[in-house]
């Protein structure tokens, strides 16, 4: 199960996978193994050696002497794939989005380019570091949506790719 959880104004993408006797919780690449036991009033959660006794009340989570404001959105039952929310398989068109805001310093492909998985599509400079945005799979670039020198926001579509093995030619 996946959902977006906002705790005290900080938003996280959460993935929860039930396992024998507990859950694996993934938050943006970090992994936590939890056991949880709900009763009428509280939920007892154990992560590693730590024990949390929580009460969920409306849009609040009460944990020890702290009250956290919660917001939940985009609940989905599908387990996460490698590329978020993409249709997969040959012929599917996927949009590649920027993982952070930054300035496009290089566009390495053009519409019609054949690309391989992992090949750099765009180089985005943020915080004085150049970050390569790679192709999520083999395919053909349908569209490049950014230009060199442009400053873009996070989650902007930078390119779209039609998946499928590139032809040998």
């Amino acid at each position: 199960m996946r959902f977006r959880l906002d705790v005290d104004g900080e938003r996280r993408e959460i993935e929860v996978e039930p396992t024998a006797g507990g859950f694996v919780i993934r938050i943006d690449g970090a992994t936590y193994r939890a056991r949880a036991r709900p009763d009428a009033e509280f939920v007892d959660v154990r992560i590693g050696a730590k024990h949390y006794r929580l009460r969920i009340q409306g849009n609040q989570a009460i944990l020890g002497d702290e009250v956290h404001r919660l917001r939940i959105a985009d609940i989905s039952e599908e387990p996460g794939g490698e590329i978020e929310g993409r249709p997969t398989g040959r012929g599917a068109v996927v949009e590649i989005r920027s993982p952070m805001p930054g300035r496009v310093v290089r566009v390495a492909v053009a519409a019609g380019s054949q690309v391989r998985r992992g090949q750099t599509l765009v180089i985005l400079e943020a915080m004085k570091m150049q970050n390569e945005i790679p192709a999520p799979g083999d395919g053909v670039v349908r569209q490049v949506a950014v230009a060199e020198g442009e400053t873009i926001t996070a989650d902007r579509v930078v390119a779209s790719i039609e998946l499928g093995a590139p032809s040998a030619s």
Binding site: D28, T31, A34, A36, N59, L70, A73, M129
Partner: protein
């Protein structure tokens, strides 16, 4: 009185790197001096010269000395003339891949390409095998051109398992002081992450030689004001690496152990008032350590993490100093370096410094952007670090970031909340109510209770409002 002036748009070229804008701001506020900080124009001799032309005091070294130390080949030659051991390498720009290949064969792999006009760890490229040299040469040249406007490269022998040790120097017109060394071996991609003083690898004799070499070397360049000479420590020997012609990010640790305010001394030197401390008066106490807190996510390969800080609480206590530029509500912009704070501790000895640092990291709360605090937490647990066995590629060699699974106590709380929501059935299929709705209509609540209680479907599970 403090005043702030907008000096242009958010891109560095429009503001902090824009000489005309910075000078205009100085005139508008009737400033008589400019302290350039670190980064941006702080090592730019043209800027220092322009300040002088406009009648402003530049708080830093004379432009000539800055130009000399900024040219890495000239600095190497100058140090070698003074009898300072320099890392094996060539003292000329390499004109072609063929020349690079010949030189690399002479000095032996691995080798390091360095930008002649480089600095700050940018434009360096390690080459392990002859087969890699052509592509490394081309890419290092393009990086050098893009960052420093000059593609020239030279080459040094790459030293495995070397330590990075540096000496802070202050020089005025009469004399100067050299400070106890800082060890800055904990780096990632040539960027320092943790610094400490004194170095666990330097004893009294070596310390005296390092300080003497650094002070003599800078004087030989005609230097004034604050500067740092960086050395590589390898097999018990030290060789000159480069000069940083400015105050450095890690200067607080030197201030903590000596009690000397380096920025105050810089301003005094620039004003012609001279140093307030001499080499013989200089004392030092205890051990200081600094962790650079960067807005980068160590779990996702240090992906930059700009954004809004929604929660911020600094650790406090004796011997803890935080130099930061953020607070709750601050926006960390994507345009600059990811450094948002420096966490500095000062205690009696190294063991206590590590312990104090660990506790300070646990108490440091930064929410809204990801930071490298989990990386520091993991590093401080490593036996190599605890022993003081440090080398410049230890972060990569020990795969410290790759071992990280958790972002620490705050995120674990979030995980616990998520587990409680799922286990408590709050997210079960059909329960699509948004919890943020503070005032939920009574009929909807009734329906929700019914559903949660396992009752009939008062509302279609797909319905949202």
């Amino acid at each position: 009185m403090d005043e702030t002036v907008a000096i242009g748009g958010p891109l560095p070229a429009d503001s902090y790197l824009n000489i005309a804008h910075v000078l205009q701001a100085a005139h508008d506020t009737r400033a008589d001096a400019i302290h350039p900080g670190y980064g941006f124009l702080s090592e730019n001799p043209t800027f220092a010269t322009r300040c002088a032309e406009e009648g402003l005091v530049f708080v830093g070294p004379p432009p000539d000395a800055m130009a000399l130390s900024g040219d890495k080949i000239a600095a190497r030659k100058s140090m070698a003339r003074l009898g300072v051991a320099v890392t094996t390498g060539v003292d000329r720009p390499l004109q072609s891949v063929e020349e690079a290949r010949v030189v690399a064969a002479e000095i032996g792999y691995p080798v390091l390409f360095k930008a002649t006009a480089g600095g700050g760890g940018i434009g360096m490229s390690r080459v392990d095998r002859p087969a890699e040299i052509a592509s490394a040469f081309e890419s290092a040249r393009s990086v050098a051109l893009a960052n420093f406007g000059n593609p020239d490269l030279f080459m040094e022998k790459y030293l495995r398992r070397a330590r990075h040790v540096e000496v802070q120097v202050l020089l005025d017109s009469r004399g100067g002081v050299g400070f106890v060394e800082r060890e800055c071996s904990v780096q990632r991609r040539h960027q320092k992450l943790v610094e400490e003083t004194p170095s666990p690898a330097v004893g009294r004799g070596l310390r005296a030689r390092l300080i003497d070499t650094a002070a003599r070397g800078l004087r030989g360049l005609g230097y004034r004001n604050a500067g740092t000479v960086e050395f590589l420590l390898h097999d018990g020997r030290y060789t000159f690496n480069e000069v940083n012609a400015r105050l450095q990010v890690e200067h607080p640790i030197t201030e903590m152990v000596t009690g000397v305010d380096l920025v105050r001394q810089q301003i005094r030197i620039a004003a012609g008032d001279g140093l307030e401390v001499s080499q013989t008066e200089l004392t030092r106490h205890g051990h200081a350590m600094e962790c650079r807190v960067n807005a980068e996510d160590p779990i996702r390969n240090f992906l930059p993490s700009p954004g809004r800080i929604v929660g911020y609480r600094e650790p406090t206590g004796s011997g803890v100093r935080i130099d930061s530029g953020v607070a709750a509500g601050s926006v960390v912009p994507p345009y600059y370096d990811p450094l948002i704070a420096k966490l500095i501790v000062h205690t009696r000895n190294r063991g206590q410094a590590i312990e104090r640092m660990r506790r300070s990291i646990e108490a440091y709360e930064i929410r809204g952007v990801q930071t490298n605090l989990p990386f520091h937490r993991e590093l401080l647990r490593r036996p190599e670090f605890v022993r003081g066995d440090l080398w410049t590629t230890m972060v990569a060699d020990l795969r410290i970031a790759a071992r990280l699974r958790s972002r620490g106590p705050w995120e674990e709380r979030v995980a616990a909340i998520a587990a409680a929501l799922v286990a408590g059935g709050r997210l079960a299929r059909g329960a699509t109510f948004p919890l943020e709705r503070a005032s939920v209509a009574k009929w909807a609540l009734a329906g929700r209770r019914e559903r949660l209680a396992g009752g009939g479907h008062a509302i279609s599970p797909r319905r949202r409002w």
